[in-house]
C-alpha cells in the first residue's frame, strides 16, 4: 500500500517506479460498482492488483450515463436494476481501499453527488478512502462549490481536457486541474477504438503546455502498443471498456489474458 495521502504525491511515486516495474505508463482501470455484482468486481480488482494497476475508477451507477458507451451504459443500468445504492458503492469502496494497494477515485455523474449533497458526498468519499473524483458531466463553470470542498478535504477533482478545447480553454482547465488530467483521446463516448497517432500526440503535447500534472489518456486503450504510445507521450493509460469486455467473455482468466497481452 502506498503511503501518500493525496493523488499528486502518490502518482509521482508511482511514476518514479515505472522503470523499476518495467512499465511504459501507469495504468488506471475502471469498474462499475455492482456490475455484474460486487463479488465480480472484487475478483476483477484482485486481477488488477496482480498486474500492478496504479489507479482504479469506481463508477457509481447512474440512470442517465450520457457520456458512456453502450457497454458501460448497460453496466450502469444493470447495476441499478440489481438494487445497487450509493451507500453500497461507498461501502464497497471502503473495503477496496482497505484491502488493495492501488488508489481509488470515484467516477460518476454529477446528479449522484448533487442529490446526496456535495459536502456529504465528499465526506463519505474521503471516509471510504477515495483520492479524487471524475465527473464527466460537470464542467468547471458549474464545479466551483464541489471543487472548493474537495480542496478543503484534500480530494482531487480530476478535470478532462479534450481535442476540441481551445488553448485558452485548456489554460482555464489547467487552473483547476489537480491529481491528474484526464485527456480524452478523441471525440465520442467510451468504448470505441482510438487511433494512437500523431494527432493524438500533438493534442497531448498541447495539454502539456498548460499543465504539469500527470496526464491520463482515455477512451479505447486496449493493446500493448497503446500503452507504449501513452508512455512516450503521457503518464497514465486508462483501461475501460476493453477490460470489462475481457471479464464478460472470460471472467478471471479472460481478464488475466487481457492484461498479459496488454502489459507483457
Amino acid at each position: 500500500m502506498g503511503q501518500s495521502d493525496n493523488l499528486k504525491s502518490y502518482l509521482s511515486e508511482r511514476k518514479n517506479s515505472l522503470a523499476k516495474r518495467q512499465r511504459a505508463a501507469m495504468i488506471m482501470t475502471h469498474v462499475v460498482c455492482g456490475y455484474p455484482s460486487f463479488e465480480d468486481n472484487w475478483k476483477e480488482l484482485e486481477v488488477m492488483e496482480e498486474f500492478g494497476v496504479d489507479l482504479v475508477e469506481l463508477q457509481f451507477p447512474f440512470s442517465e450515463p450520457s457520456a458512456d458507451g453502450p457497454l458501460f451504459v448497460k453496466a450502469n443500468q444493470e447495476a441499478i436494476k440489481n438494487g445497487v445504492r450509493v451507500q453500497d458503492c461507498f461501502d464497497f469502496m471502503s473495503k477496496v481501499t482497505a484491502h488493495f494497494s492501488f488508489k481509488v477515485v470515484m467516477m460518476g455523474y454529477f446528479n449522484t453527488i448533487f442529490k446526496t449533497g456535495q459536502r456529504t458526498f465528499l465526506e463519505r468519499l474521503k471516509g471510504a478512502g477515495g483520492y479524487g473524483f471524475i465527473v464527466p458531466d460537470l464542467p468547471i463553470e458549474e464545479a466551483g462549490e464541489l471543487h472548493g470542498i474537495a480542496k478543503e478535504m484534500g480530494l482531487s477533482p480530476v478535470v478532462l481536457m479534450t481535442p476540441t478545447n481551445s488553448d485558452q480553454r485548456l489554460a482555464e482547465l489547467a487552473q483547476t486541474a489537480d491529481g491528474f488530467v484526464y485527456t480524452v483521446a478523441r471525440k465520442g463516448v467510451t468504448g470505441s477504438n482510438t487511433d494512437m497517432d500523431s494527432e493524438l500526440a500533438e493534442f497531448i503535447a498541447r495539454c502539456k503546455q498548460f499543465t504539469d500534472v500527470p496526464l491520463a489518456v482515455g477512451f479505447g486503450v486496449s493493446h500493448a502498443h497503446d500503452i507504449e504510445f501513452i508512455g512516450q507521450h503521457a503518464d497514465i493509460a486508462v483501461i475501460g471498456t476493453a477490460a470489462l469486455k475481457a471479464w464478460e467473455t472470460g471472467k478471471e482468466q479472460g481478464l488475466r489474458d487481457f492484461f498479459t497481452q496488454l502489459l507483457h
Binding site: 440512470s63 442517465e64 449522484t112 458531466d137 476540441t164 478545447n165 480553454r169 471525440k187
Partner: protein
C-alpha cells in the same frame, strides 16, 4: 419582465435552475451555439426571416378559436384556444425546429440529430431537415418506436434515419442521452436540435425564444377577438416549450394567471405520473444538461414515469418554468389520464377539434376551472397539437372496438411475416 436578462445573475440560470451541464468535449460547440444564438437574437432581420419562414411554410399566424359551444355547456368562462395544431406537421414543435434550422444554416453545419418521445419533435425535425437539405438522424426510445410507428414512418419517408434506442427505459430520456452521445462524437458538422425548453443553456432560452411566437400572436389575437386579455392561460407541460412559448406573451400581464398542466397519469405516487411540480414526488437534480426538478429517487436515479400522452412523459422540466413557479407567477396543476380522455371527447363532440393527448391536459384543467369562473371571464388554452396522428394511442385510450377489429383485419390482410 425579461426572463432572459442575465445581467443580475449567472448566464443560463433562472433562479437556481438551468445551467450548462455538459461534457467538456462539447464546451466549444456549446459556446459556438451560444454565440451564434446571441447574434441571431440581437439581429432583428433573423427574427423577420424566421417569421416569414413560418408564414410561408407552416401557415402562421395560427388563429385563436372561440369555443362558444363548450363555454356555453360549462356555463362559466369563455374559452378560447390557440391553434398550434394547424401548424405544418401538426404541432408547435415546428416553431422551434425551423428556428433552429435557420441557426444551423448560419453555423454552416450540415447534419442534425434530435431526440423524440411522442414523435412530434422527430417528425418536425425530419421535415425541417428535408426542407433545409440537412442529413438527419432521429433517436427514439425503442418502446416509443414500437408505439409511435406512424411518426417513424413519416420521418423515414422524409429521409431521416430513425434509431431505436434500447437503453434504460427506452423512452424519451434515453433518446436524449443517445443524442448527447452522438453529439460528443460528431459536433463538428452536427447540431443537436433539442425539442423542448430543457437541456443545457442556451437551449431553454433558445427554444423559449422561438416558441414565444405563440404568445406574441396570441396576446394580440385575444385583445382583438375576446376584447380583453385572458384571465387565465392554460398549457400542458412536458418539457415545457409550448407553455413557456404561450406564457411569454402574458408575462407582464399580472392579472393573467398562467397555469401549467402536467401529466397526472394514474394520480400521485412515484412512478404513476409525470408531474414534476404539481405533485410532490420530484426534487431538484442535475441531469440531461440542466439543473431542475426531476422525478428521481434519493440516489438521484430517475424514476419511471407514466402518462397517456407520450409527449408529457418526461422526468424533467423547463428550468424557466420552475423559477416562475417558485416566484408564484405560474401555477402548476396535474390532471389524470382519465380526466384527459374525457376532455378530449368533449372537445371533439362539442367543437369538432381534436387536441393531441398532450394538449388535452390543458383542456382538462381549463374545463375544470372555467366551470367555476364567471361568464365574463376569459380563458385561453394552448392547443399545442392535433390528435389525429395519435390515433393508435387515442383509440387505445378510448378502448375503441371497431378500431381493434380494423387492425386485426389489416394484419390478416398482410399475412404472416
Amino acid at each position: 419582465m425579461d426572463l432572459f436578462d442575465f445581467t443580475e445573475g449567472r448566464e443560463g440560470y433562472y433562479g437556481e435552475y438551468g445551467g450548462t451541464f455538459l461534457p467538456e468535449i462539447l464546451h466549444t460547440t456549446i459556446e459556438e451555439l451560444k454565440t451564434e444564438f446571441r447574434k441571431a437574437k440581437d439581429d432583428p432581420s433573423f427574427w423577420q426571416e424566421f417569421i416569414e419562414l413560418m408564414q410561408s411554410y407552416s401557415g402562421r399566424p395560427t388563429p385563436v378559436t372561440h369555443l362558444a359551444n363548450l363555454s356555453k355547456k360549462l356555463g362559466g368562462a369563455q374559452i378560447y384556444i390557440k391553434r398550434e395544431d394547424l401548424n405544418h406537421t401538426g404541432s408547435h414543435k415546428i416553431n422551434n425546429v425551423m428556428g433552429q434550422g435557420l441557426l444551423v444554416k448560419r453555423m454552416g453545419k450540415t447534419r442534425v440529430i434530435a431526440e423524440t418521445g411522442a414523435g412530434q419533435h422527430g417528425y418536425a425535425t425530419a421535415t425541417m431537415a428535408a426542407r433545409f437539405g440537412f442529413q438527419s438522424k432521429i433517436y427514439m426510445g425503442a418502446v416509443d418506436v414500437a408505439r409511435q410507428r406512424p411518426n417513424v414512418f413519416w420521418m423515414e419517408n422524409m429521409g431521416s434515419e430513425v434509431i431505436a434506442v434500447k437503453d434504460g427505459q427506452q423512452t424519451l430520456k434515453d433518446a436524449i442521452n443517445e443524442c448527447l452521445r452522438d453529439w460528443v462524437t460528431n459536433m463538428d458538422n452536427t447540431h443537436y436540435v433539442l425539442g423542448t425548453a430543457c437541456g443545457p443553456h442556451p437551449f431553454p432560452e433558445m427554444v423559449s425564444w422561438f416558441q414565444s411566437i405563440i404568445g406574441k400572436e396570441a396576446r394580440a389575437q385575444m385583445l382583438e377577438r375576446a376584447g380583453k386579455l385572458p384571465d387565465r392561460v392554460f398549457a400542458c407541460v412536458g418539457g415545457g416549450s409550448n407553455a413557456i412559448g404561450l406564457f411569454q406573451g402574458f408575462m407582464d400581464d399580472n392579472d393573467t394567471q398562467l397555469v401549467g398542466c402536467e401529466a397526472g397519469g394514474f394520480g400521485p405516487g412515484k412512478g404513476n405520473h409525470a408531474a414534476r411540480l404539481a405533485y410532490k414526488d420530484a426534487s431538484v437534480g442535475v441531469a440531461q444538461g440542466m439543473k431542475t426538478y426531476f422525478l428521481q429517487n434519493d440516489d438521484g436515479n430517475m424514476l419511471h414515469t407514466h402518462s397517456v400522452a407520450a409527449g408529457l412523459d418526461y422526468i424533467g422540466v423547463n428550468p424557466v418554468l420552475v423559477h416562475l413557479w417558485e416566484k408564484s407567477r405560474v401555477r402548476f396543476e396535474a390532471v389524470t389520464d382519465a380526466q384527459v380522455t374525457e376532455a378530449l371527447k368533449l372537445a371533439m363532440r362539442t367543437e369538432g377539434v381534436i387536441p393531441a393527448l398532450e394538449s388535452s391536459h390543458g383542456f382538462a384543467q381549463a374545463i375544470l376551472e372555467a366551470e367555476q369562473m364567471s361568464k365574463d371571464e376569459v380563458v385561453l388554452i394552448n392547443m399545442s397539437g392535433r390528435g389525429d396522428k395519435d390515433i393508435f394511442t387515442i383509440a387505445d385510450a378510448l378502448g375503441d372496438e371497431h378500431w381493434k377489429t380494423f387492425i386485426r383485419q389489416k394484419a390478416e390482410e398482410y399475412g404472416p411475416e
